[in-house]
Symmetry: C2
Subunit: 213 residues, 2 copies
DNA sequence: CAACTGCCAACTGTCGACAGTTAACACCTT
DNA sequence: AAGGTGTTAACTGTCGACAGTTGGCAGTTG
């Protein structure tokens, strides 16, 4: 059996509310009505308020005095600025991964790349899920829990930005090549090249997000 | 007159509790008794619990089910791992600062360096305050609000680690030179050199923190 | 005397209620 | 009719109280 991850209602509320925000069920710009959400989650306002505070410090909500919390709306400039942070973190992760990777890490990375290509060539869109999986695998190889945690938080915010976009556009074929190149650099144990490749990759992804709207 | 920054008690509680943790008044390992702290702050448990949640997601507190919150205790390994994150962020900041700095930024940086030297040569310890000021000034020049925010959070955690150390050791003379070298690289508009210099600086500071205890 | 058991105090987790603020609507004035 | 004003409903901010859990202490038993 699967025990609930969080025993406390506040903990559950964090996950549930995060889900509501990231799926866009509470869209950017919308306010979080405490009584309504609390009722929907079947809890009282106390635990919900604690959850709101936590999500606010994860930058998934914005608090305004006497007006509660609302989901932030993203501007183009926000995307650019956020990717500066993401680049700083993930380039460092790529660098560390190149230094610390094991054979198992490389195998895992190549697996994800292969599955991505299969999915893509099967005619489907390159699913965002596999992109996340790739970056997760890379973080695992980097073995820096603090960096991994921060990347997770930033990726969350990127998901929020994506939810603000009308359509979930297909990842370009280029990303697949980027990922392969990254694995090569990591496998070769070349931190400098890994970092540079990651930087180019993220620049491309960022530009792509900015191109749409 | 200075109005209170936060109108809400929860907001005040965040600041007050953060202060208690960072000054070591609630030392690492100690539990946060909700009724006691709430009484000390003159508020009820509700807002305090919200504050606790927020500080927990800033990694200044650790939550344990049914046992409340306690201040995390740091191991040597934690320091090393945390500095990996700090290095990733501040190297990126140094890089950006070298690209974006204005003359005013450089002037400001040199000012801080000069004051640091004056203070040091006056026989006093190189105060941590001025070290923080330097890094803050550099972040200002980088003009990346998200990176700046994350650095602020990481520096907070470093302060917490420092509070766990018995003594607040004098900064070595080497840090002064590091800072000067950093300003030079930034002033020269050389991102690569700025990043590398920052990396060396932080490696030194980290080693220093690990050496004591 | 050690270990096990049952009780108890302290504390956390949660809820419902009250007070204060905000924003919108209706109403009055000019 | 436009603008200002008073009123009111909705919502947030806060508190006190209750229930459930935890860990320690005393008492008991082998």
């Amino acid at each position: 059996m699967t025990l609930p991850v969080h025993h406390s209602l506040a903990g559950q509320a964090v996950d549930a509310l995060r889900e509501l925000v990231l799926t866009g069920e509470i869209p950017p710009g919308a306010r979080v009505n405490e009584v309504e959400i609390a009722a929907r989650l079947g809890i009282s306002r106390g635990p919900l308020r604690e959850a709101i505070r936590q999500l606010a410090s994860e930058n998934l909500l914005v608090l305004v005095a006497h007006r509660g919390a609302h989901v932030p709306t993203a501007t183009r400039e926000d995307v650019r600025a956020l990717f500066e942070l993401r680049t700083a973190l993930e380039c460092a992760a790529a660098e560390l991964a190149a230094s610390r990777r094991t054979d198992a890490d490389v195998t895992r990375l190549r697996e994800v790349c292969a599955e991505s290509r299969r999915t893509y060539q099967a005619g489907e869109r390159f699913p965002y899920r596999l992109d996340l999986a790739f970056h997760q695998a890379l973080l695992g190889a980097a073995r820096s829990p603090h960096i991994a945690e921060q990347v997770r938080l930033v990726q969350q915010r990127v998901v929020l930005l994506r939810s603000g976009l009308k359509d979930d556009p297909p990842h370009q074929h280029a990303s697949l090549d980027d990922h392969d190149a990254l694995v090569d650099a990591v496998a070769a144990g070349d931190p400098y090249r890994a970092s540079l490749t990651m930087r180019k990759h993220l620049a491309r992804v960022c530009a792509q997000m900015l191109a749409e709207n």
